[in-house]
């Protein structure tokens, strides 16, 4: 197994050279540091933010909002996707609607969220749900539509009553695609949460980003952007990515040997 290690090595090298180029450009003095901060400035700003106890509350509140909004979105997306996967009628009605809603950027949901929910966290939950529910629902629906019919036939000849088909057969058979949908939904929801916080909130990663711009503090802007990327990436890889991988391996969809 030489390949994965080589990939890691190459990736680390890639990021190190990226940092080196960034540092060189800043050190050359061609760009003003208040517009384009150096990696060192950014790193120092992250440490300052952490020291001033700004990071943890921001992370905490963004994650808290994500948990509520994403749970809501997951529930709605699973129900809608299940209905669409089972009933062609529901699919015909909802699919175009969800695809249409998905063309709206997350931030475009903010004005209506402000009108509907004022300055409460409800508006942020609303944006998270609207950003991610379509992706989850369509993945679930596609997953169900693509279940090999043989599983359904086998379940029926084994005497599975109609009421148990959803829970015992359709859901597990579609679980690999559902996991992909959940992963996608988390990413879309994360976009929504941070975008919403940019516009209205007094705490959170999006708010820190906004504050950086208000204070003309480019290093804070870049620092928070990098943190947002890292947190999103870590959750995607560690939580949702490994969940998806585990399911795919258990279902026999990837070669294990």
């Amino acid at each position: 197994m030489k390949k994965p290690r080589l990939h890691w090595f190459t990736a680390i090298l890639f990021y190190l050279s990226l940092l080196a180029i960034w540092q060189t450009v800043c050190a050359s003095g061609q760009v003003p540091p208040y517009l384009f901060p150096s990696p060192r400035q950014v790193f120092e700003r992250i440490m300052e933010l952490a020291h001033d106890d700004m990071l943890w509350p921001a992370f905490h509140s963004t994650m808290g909002r994500m948990l509520v909004g994403f749970a809501l979105s997951l529930f709605l997306g699973l129900v809608a996707g299940l209905c669409m996967g089972i009933s062609p009628l529901a699919n015909a009605c909802f699919r175009s609607l969800l695809l249409g809603l998905q063309t709206l950027p997350s931030a475009a949901w903010m004005p209506i969220a402000l009108l509907l929910f004022g300055l409460s966290d409800g508006g942020i939950y609303f944006v998270i749900v609207m950003s991610s529910v379509g992706g989850i629902a369509t993945s679930v629906a596609d997953g169900i539509a693509n279940i090999p019919p043989i599983y359904l036939r086998a379940a029926r000849t084994l005497g599975t009553p109609g009421y148990a088909m959803g829970w015992k057969v359709i859901l597990p058979a579609a679980l690999p695609s559902i996991a992909t949908g959940v992963k996608l939904g988390w990413t879309l929801g994360w976009h929504g949460a941070v975008s919403a916080e940019l516009i209205k909130s007094s705490v959170g990663l999006g708010f820190l980003l906004y504050m950086g711009r208000e204070l003309n503090d480019a290093s804070q802007v870049v620092a928070v952007m990098i943190l947002t990327i890292l947190i999103g990436l870590a959750l995607d890889r560690l939580v949702f990515g490994s969940m998806e991988q585990w399911i795919r391996r258990r279902w026999g969809l990837v070669e294990t040997r």
């Binding site: 043989i150 036939r153 086998a154 029926r156 000849t157 084994l158 005497g159 057969v169 026999g252």
Partner: protein
């Protein structure tokens, strides 16, 4: 007097066939034309008999099997199991497919337990005991905690057989279950199938293209005509069991079945 009568009644019931297919037919629309998938077919299958359905491709033998399973509703005629008209799939009439159709998200044991879950009369302990009993019968006990994708093709079909047997169906319907396996595995599975069927005394309907397989496994063989299909002839194979795939008597019967089939295959190629 009364006991004699009762004995007579019982004898009549005994003689009553397990499964009756009466003038069952199926048509489908091809463009605007109505095509016959299956002309009216009648069969009487006694309890414990191993029936083979064979014939050219598209003769409707699989259609008939799917009608018995309840996946397809016949357009005409009826199918009776123990005198009751069948409708819809049920574990009384258990289908085994060409692909193993094991659920990839369940272990071998949980796959076999799946059909037992819908039997409310069994306790959890009895279910596991039943599942293990049939896994033992098909020689798969050692693999009860394996996932289906970890098994070879032949092992998967053995698990599928255990899963089909576990809910104690009246009739087992097999749709070319060994067709996608290699020859060696297939021959081992003929032994397994014969052993299991004679032990459980199940009624079986088995669809195949393979005349040797038909002669090796079947008590009776129904040969279908080319499309539109109907039953051309019924051949009894009164050989003792267990039969070897290479038994010369099996070959002789295979030849007989092939002769019946040949004229139909020629018709098909015209």
């Amino acid at each position: 007097m009364e006991t004699e009568q009762a004995a007579q009644v019982r004898e009549q019931q005994d003689r009553k066939p397990k499964l009756v297919i009466r003038q069952a037919s199926k048509t489908f629309l091809s463009g605007k034309k109505e095509m016959h998938a299956l002309l009216p077919v009648s069969l009487e299958i006694a309890e414990g008999e191993f029936w083979i359905l064979t014939g050219p491709s598209g003769c409707g033998k699989s259609t008939l099997l799917n009608m018995v399973a309840g996946f397809i509703e016949p357009d005409g005629g009826e199918i009776l199991l123990d005198g009751k008209r069948v409708s819809g799939p049920d574990s009384e009439r258990m289908m085994m497919f060409q692909e193993h159709a094991l659920f990839p998200w369940l272990t071998v044991l949980d796959n076999v337990l799946f059909g037992l879950e819908w039997k409310p009369s069994l306790s959890a302990k009895e279910r596991v005991e039943t599942a293990r009993f049939y896994l033992d019968m098909t020689g798969m006990t050692r693999f009860e905690n394996a996932m289906p994708h970890e098994l070879s093709g032949g092992m998967k079909q053995r698990v599928a057989l255990a899963r089909a047997l576990a809910p104690n169906p009246s009739v087992i319907l097999m749709d070319e279950p060994f067709a996608s396996l290699d020859a060696l595995t297939r021959e081992r599975l003929y032994e397994h199938t014969q052993a299991v069927v004679s032990k459980t005394k199940k009624t079986v309907i088995f669809v195949t293209h393979n005349v040797r397989e038909a002669a090796c496994l079947g008590d009776r063989v129904a040969v279908f005509t080319a499309r539109p299909g109907k039953i051309k002839s019924e051949i009894a194979v009164p050989l003792p069991r267990p039969r070897s795939f290479y038994d010369p008597e099996v070959s002789r019967y295979a030849g007989k079945i092939l002769d019946e089939l040949k004229s139909e295959l020629e018709k098909e190629s015209v």
